[in-house]
């Protein structure tokens, strides 16, 4: 079965006067999203997760690697295929206010994709706009309003509705909850969940809130300094992480319980995030990794399978690594059979 979205060995490099030797934002990253599947992409800011998503829709230019949508290389689409691709893949941005034109009403913004793709007549488009508003739980009266008169959560609903206008199969969501207030985040997360179930959409969902990603995603890919270091089902990866970095991410999630939180404060990740302009040799996480040994400095880790479908790029999981067996338990306690 062909994956709906197949990103293969993608590299995105930025060059510029201030960037010295250039910045490799995405470094040989590969991932797939199946039809109707939610893939969560997590990592710290600056790890390249947004760049990867933007490259998929052509907002950044890949340096090398291929992006296939429905089996076709998106850089070699014919005019018609390109239009079909544009209609079939939508993007939800982090900042809903900026992603809506200040000179359009909500109704006009929702109509825009239909006009761009020459869909329907004036009245059928109007009907579709009302349908879209209803889909995201918004009253029809919003159609006449300006985005600036709506709250953050309301705007994000509108941006989601616009992304759905052309009945896409894949929604790429670039931290759509980050700019929202706590209580609104949960509302919008529910909108995403409901729509995914109702329209059997596939999501490439980028987030930094692991709790949200855990609930939303079927599978998770963890990115660190341009590389994907761990992939697997969201339960596997986030409940029993195999990579020390994922472990640290999971352990840093703030939990509103004073007892737990005060205890955890002692196990925080030490050291600064290395600069992507000058990443460390070998494993890029080694400068912050509590379990790093010499090999991590010399050799870039290969990806090992911990469980079926659960891959991790860490020397600890190399079956030939004698030190791994001892240290593995510090990351992922419990008996494991290695594949």
């Amino acid at each position: 079965m062909t994956a709906l979205l197949d990103v293969d060995d993608l590299v995105v490099r930025f060059t510029g006067r201030q960037l010295g030797n250039g910045l490799t934002a995405v470094d040989h990253a590969s991932l797939t999203v199946q039809s109707g599947e939610v893939l969560g992409l997590v990592g710290e800011s600056g790890c390249g997760k947004s760049t990867l998503a933007r490259a998929v829709v052509g907002l950044e230019k890949p340096t090398s690697g291929t992006i296939r949508y429905d089996g076709r290389d998106v850089s070699r689409l014919s005019g018609r295929e390109s239009r079909e691709f544009r209609a079939s893949v939508s993007f939800v941005f982090q900042d809903p206010l900026a992603s809506l034109s200040p000179r359009q009403t909500v109704g006009q913004a929702l109509e825009e994709p239909l006009i761009v793709h020459g869909r329907g007549t004036h009245s059928s488009r109007h009907a579709r706009v009302l349908e879209l508003l209803e889909l995201v739980g918004a009253p029809a009266s919003w159609g006449e309003r300006q985005p600036s008169s709506l709250s953050g959560g309301q705007r994000q609903r509108v941006a989601i509705a616009r992304a759905l206008a052309l009945e896409p199969q894949l929604l790429i969501c670039d931290e759509p909850l980050t700019a929202l207030d706590v209580s609104t985040q949960a509302q919008i997360a529910n909108v995403f969940i409901e729509l995914q179930e109702r329209l059997s959409l596939a999501y490439l969902f980028i987030g930094h809130d692991l709790g949200v990603v855990r609930r939303l995603a079927d599978r998770v890919a963890v990115m660190h300094l341009g590389e994907i270091v761990e992939t697997g089902t969201s339960t596997e990866v986030l409940s029993s992480p195999a990579h020390p970095y994922t472990r640290a991410l999971v352990d840093s999630i703030p939990i509103p319980d004073p007892a737990i939180q005060r205890e955890r404060v002692r196990n925080v990740l030490r050291g600064e995030v290395p600069s992507p302009l000058n990443p460390p040799s070998g494993c890029r996480f080694r400068t912050r990794c509590p379990l790093a040994f010499e090999r991590c400095e010399q050799e870039h880790p290969a990806t090992f399978m911990v469980d079926p479908g659960h891959g991790v790029a860490c020397h600890l999981w190399d079956p030939d690594e004698s030190r791994g067996a001892v240290l593995r338990d510090a990351v992922r306690p419990g008996p494991r059979t290695l594949l």
Partner: protein, 348 residues
Amino acid sequence: MTADAPVLTVRGLGVSFPGADGTVRAVDGIDFEVHPGEVLAIVGESGSGKTVSMMSLLQLLPPGVRYDTTGSAVFDGVELVGADRMTLREIRGRRISVVFQGALGAFNPVRKIGPQIAEMARFGAGYGKQESVRRAIELLGLVGLSDPDRRYRQYPHELSGGMRQRALIAVALAAEPDVLIADEPTTALDVTVQAQIVELLASLVARLGMATIIISHDLGVVAGIADRVAVMYAGKIVEFGTAEEVLLSPRHPYTRGLLDAIAGIDDDGRAFRALPGSMPAPGERGAGCSFAPRCSFVRDKCLVEVPPLQAPPIGFGPLGASGTASAASAPGSAEVACWIYDRNEVRS
């Protein structure tokens, strides 16, 4: 908590702005106090008035906005509300210092980090020229920056977000303040860095013993550091108590809702228990409780009368699932502004 006299006592603090249609009351009468060595967290969503209330104390609201502060805020015997420029200059940045939100904007981008800290040490804490440089380097080390000598000579843009936040805390500490106000000290930082900053603040409070007020929207971050928590909603404090009381056994339906909306890593199920609606803007608050339109336990009285913030009647414990107070095991220090905890109803 300590038995010392409070270093800052705030009573009935209100802040209003001239709005499009009449005066907008951003902060609507709040009371609290902080003791030396104590961490008070003020929690709320954007627009709840948490930042405005703190900044108005030091008259640090953006210039050009005409605002009106009422009530009283006594710091070490000095009334801050309505204080003149000279009095405030003595206190602001020296005895009460602020870690501003957005670490990049708070530094002068064309000056090195070190001298900016040394300056605060000189003018805030009265160090000499040579001493202040030494003190600045010491502070950079204290906030956990590696190689403080080199950091002293770096420009703000050369530091990462987390390092800048640390340097900013060093600036705030340079004057050896009695009260430290940190406005969203972890917002916009990654979770890994957030945890580091929370740890740093907690250890600094323990070592230096100043009273600290943390303004945050993140209950998880608050849980790691606060002794007492005040939850603000629409310009008012709706719940006040120790961190354990507020976060583990909340009384106000809003606090309950906020906690429910947070997705833990081990939670099962998919949908979130989201609070419906959004917080009313200051101009759009109706009569009665501001939370009533979003509250699933709303009663008739909530729509007419504003509930006062008061200790719940004896025997009234945390909010139960059915919207009534559960039985209290032991009397606590919590206060709540909700009609579910109405004294009169106890009698009837």
